[in-house]
Amino acid sequence: MKKPENLGFRLGTGLFGLVLVVLVAAIGAELFRQSWLSVQKFGLNFWRTEVWDPVAGEFGAYPFIWGTLYSSILALLLAAPISLGIAVFISELAPNRLKPVLVFLTELLAAIPSIVYGLWGMFVLVPAVRAFEMSIPQALKATPFFSGPPFGLGMLSAALILAVMVIPFTSSVAREVLKAVPTAQREGAYALGATRLEAISAALYYARTGIVGAIMLGFGRALGETMAVTMVIGNNAKVSLSLLAPQHTMAAVLANEFSEADTNLYLSALIEIGLVLFIMTLIINSLSRLLIWSMARPMKAPVSAVVPAMESAA
């Protein structure tokens, strides 16, 4: 016995929900259609070829896939502990008067346009990184991670700038998630004689799915970051383990080469890079969703329900 307006409401909102699905499907279909020329010509080799030669008309996305993943993972490794520390400090330890100031500051970091980060990266971060790279001892330089001349521009600068850009997102979501942990949880821990550290770790454990969500949100942002990265990464389509080597990312090559792509195949290959980025983002988001689900299942408390709400809040 549903009321008719109730049905209308359900259908209406359902339609809006459908718009989202259609939009994503349409983007995917259009990317695929526009990149068909390149898909046909290179097939799966596109994913593993290391050559990007617009003159010869040979295109492979491997250096860009590598650069995107490498820089994002490095940024994640740097940003995740710092963001968690910030979140724990603000939500659990900071004096009440300091809290709003810290929250305001992290939100301010998130509001800075990426071109500003890029300029800061070029004029402040890169020279500092260069000085650091020149002081790396020879023994370390022999390892594949620190080989090559110290340009300053390169993977290390890109990872650092990405980490700075990701921190506000990850830390504010993690903070909100920690805030959503019921007070009873902490009180229970203290009642059992837990120290502050133990109580906080219990809260962190309780909020773990939300925290994974926060980190994955940061990862997603790092994957797609364009302007700031292209200004500091050196833009060289070569695969290298070295943090010192100039490399390239998918978003950066699109921003750099799209406007001047003069042959159909070139343009098509660039759009296929967009398609690869789209597919990779889809896979990574699905995997993180799966991870959150699998972590949430044993528990009844619906902490994971907090995550989508927080994502939209961020």
Binding site: P54, V55, R130, P149, M231, P246, A261
Partner: protein
């Protein structure tokens, strides 16, 4: 009462007159190369002062985008730093004509702390550096060219454009002419598979990296180096002279080419022969259909082109471009007559 009606009628009359004049307004859309954008915008605003009914809108999206939009018919004219290829011309729905508008040049910029002398380069040496074969500043090839200059033993950091660009096209076009190895390994295009170096986005990106990185060498447009007062080296031309890029030496490069200008103006003037010729110079072109659909726009555009090629040239030097030599302008005026206005 009647007076009121009369004045009312007069007002209506004036209104229709104004509307009539407004209807004759011609709007022309164009898109393309970023390199000539400053002078195109200057021309457009100066021309609009003389002919308020002609409104030209130029979007500097890049040469490739200009060619694509012209082919798709979304703009009336395109603009490019490199001439269209035969394939691109065939892909266009109508016959496209090229018109050189001004000249530009690329200059080698470098950062060598402690070296105040102006460095000299030759084409083969620049190619060697960009191929990654000459890697040290005190390489014999460089010290031989620059006797008396105390060149350090540090690595050369090669800086190129990361975005595809007409500037790169001119640079690698020159390298291809002076080095067969460059031609074979990298070739000529707005973006190539760079054998070595780091990429900066835009002239400002390259200049930024060069000014910050001791031991670096890159290339930027002359306009950019002049406006930002970046020091640059001289390059040896075909006759063996070492020349810095100046308005005169760049115009001379076009003058040398005027004698054997192909009818479609699709010509590269890098490494041009002649005295006083700066070797890394190039035209930048406006692209027009020979038989455009809209004849009103066609007529207005033609008048604008004639003005830009004649009176407009005087704005070039002030903005860091080299004006076209008169011989070339004469040829172009004749070629403009091919465009159909009715």
């Amino acid at each position: 009462m009647t007076r009121k009606i009369k004045s009312g009628l007069a007002a209506i009359g004036v209104a229709t007159l104004v509307a009539g004049a407004a209807a004759q307004k011609v709007q022309i859309q164009g898109a393309g190369a970023t390199f000539p954008n400053p002078i195109y915008q200057k021309w457009i605003s100066e021309y609009n002062k003389l002919h308020p009914n002609v409104e030209i809108n130029y979007q500097s999206l890049g040469s490739g985008a200009g060619i694509r939009q012209l082919t798709a018919g979304t703009v009336f004219f395109g603009a490019s730093d490199g001439p269209m290829t035969n394939e691109q011309l065939q892909a266009a729905p109508g016959k496209v004509l090229h018109f050189p508008m001004v000249l530009g040049a690329n200059v080698p910029v470098y950062n060598l702390p402690g070296v105040n002398a102006e460095l000299k380069f030759t084409g083969p040496v620049l190619a060697g550096i960009f191929l990654g074969k000459i890697t040290k500043w005190n390489d014999a090839a460089l010290t031989k060219l620059n006797p008396g200059v105390n060149l350090p033993g540090s690595d050369i950091t090669v800086v190129h454009r990361s975005d595809s660009s007409g500037t790169t096209y001119i640079w690698v076009d020159y390298l291809s002419k002076v080095s067969p190895e460059w031609k074979m390994k990298a070739g000529v295009a707005t973006q190539v598979n760079w054998p070595t170096g780091v990429g900066g986005k835009g002239n400002e990106g390259v200049a930024g990296i060069v000014t910050q990185t001791p031991g670096s060498l890159g290339y930027v447009e002359l306009v950019y180096a002049l406006q930002n007062k970046i020091a640059y080296g001289s390059v040896q031309n075909m006759g063996g002279e070492f020349l810095k890029a100046t308005v005169d030496s760049v115009t001379a490069a076009a003058g040398a080419a005027a004698g054997k200008m192909p009818a479609d103006f699709r010509v590269s003037i890098t490494n041009a022969p002649g005295k006083g010729v700066y070797p890394i110079s190039s035209f930048t072109w406006i692209l027009l259909y020979e038989n455009p659909k809209d004849k009103t726009q066609s007529k207005a555009m033609l008048d604008f082109m004639k003005w830009a090629l004649a009176d407009g040239q005087k704005f070039a030097a002030g903005l860091g471009y080299a004006p076209l030599p008169e011989d070339v302008v004469k040829l172009e005026m004749a070629a403009l007559a091919k465009i159909k206005v009715s």
